[in-house]
């Protein structure tokens, strides 16, 4: 049902895990014009370039993170005809296999949903203030940013789509 749909947050930064099916249900309920929903789920990988990690810790910027994610969502909504967007990003300690991030994009047709979800992730990876620290056999280690993430974000410049 659409009741209270306007009151649901588009962006959440939280310690707790999330329920993908419930989030998709809440995003699409009451809107029968939606034909396509794309979800992205990011998980903690055990093997890194430095070996197997025991845990990962995500630092964020309370307030600043929500602000940055809100701008990224607004930019996606300006670029594509979306019927719904949802971003949930966790912080704090996490074990390998745990969910880190969820991005949902809903639209009438699939191209907009796919592109918007990919755009949201590319911008989140390069513009949202989160920092990963991996805890492995060699102790704690801050993860380096990847150049390919900058390249992925760059492809959306100048209104290009993919």
């Amino acid at each position: 049902m659409a009741d209270g749909a306007g009151a649901r947050p588009q962006v959440s930064v939280q310690r707790e895990d999330f329920d993908i099916a419930a989030e998709i249900e809440a995003l699409t309920a009451g809107n029968r014009d939606i034909g396509a929903v794309v979800s992205f789920t990011g998980l903690v990988r055990e093997m890194t370039g430095e070996g197997a990690i025991a845990a990962m810790e995500l630092e964020h910027w309370p307030g600043g993170t929500e602000n940055a994610l809100g701008k990224i969502v607004a930019e996606a909504e300006a670029r594509w005809p979306l019927d719904g967007v949802r971003v949930i990003h966790r912080y704090g300690p996490m074990a390998p296999g745990e969910r880190i991030v969820l991005v949902l994009a809903a639209s009438r047709h699939r191209a907009a949903a796919f592109e918007a979800a990919a755009f949201l992730m590319d911008y989140l990876k390069t513009r949202a203030p989160f920092w990963k620290k991996e805890h492995g056999p060699g102790g704690g280690r801050w993860v380096d940013a990847r150049e390919c993430d900058d390249a992925a974000a760059e492809r959306w410049r100048d209104g290009r789509r993919g």
Binding site: W61, N67, K125, R127, P129, F130, W131, W142, V143
Partner: protein
């Protein structure tokens, strides 16, 4: 002015947030130079300026952004979430 540090910059500075006297610094880069000259821990945190990102009043910008009138400057390494 309030200055925030995140991730390994926070660890090197030894503080997540502090009140800093900008000593007349007009840009974020000038503020960094004053901090670096002040104490070894700042010199360490800001050793590689290519790895420093800056936000002025929560707007992502660059080191040459003006900071006069700003309430809050945040310094952090490239982000690695997602």
């Amino acid at each position: 002015m309030q200055v925030l540090y995140f991730a390994w910059m926070r660890e090197r500075v030894g503080a997540a947030a502090e009140e800093v006297d900008p000593e007349g610094a007009a840009t974020a880069r000038e503020l960094v130079e004053r901090l670096r000259a002040r104490e070894e821990r700042y010199a360490l945190a800001f050793a590689d300026l290519a790895a420093v990102r800056v936000a002025v009043d929560q707007e992502m910008t660059d080191l040459d952004a003006p900071i006069s009138g700003a309430r809050e400057i945040a310094f952090f390494p490239p982000v690695t979430g997602g």
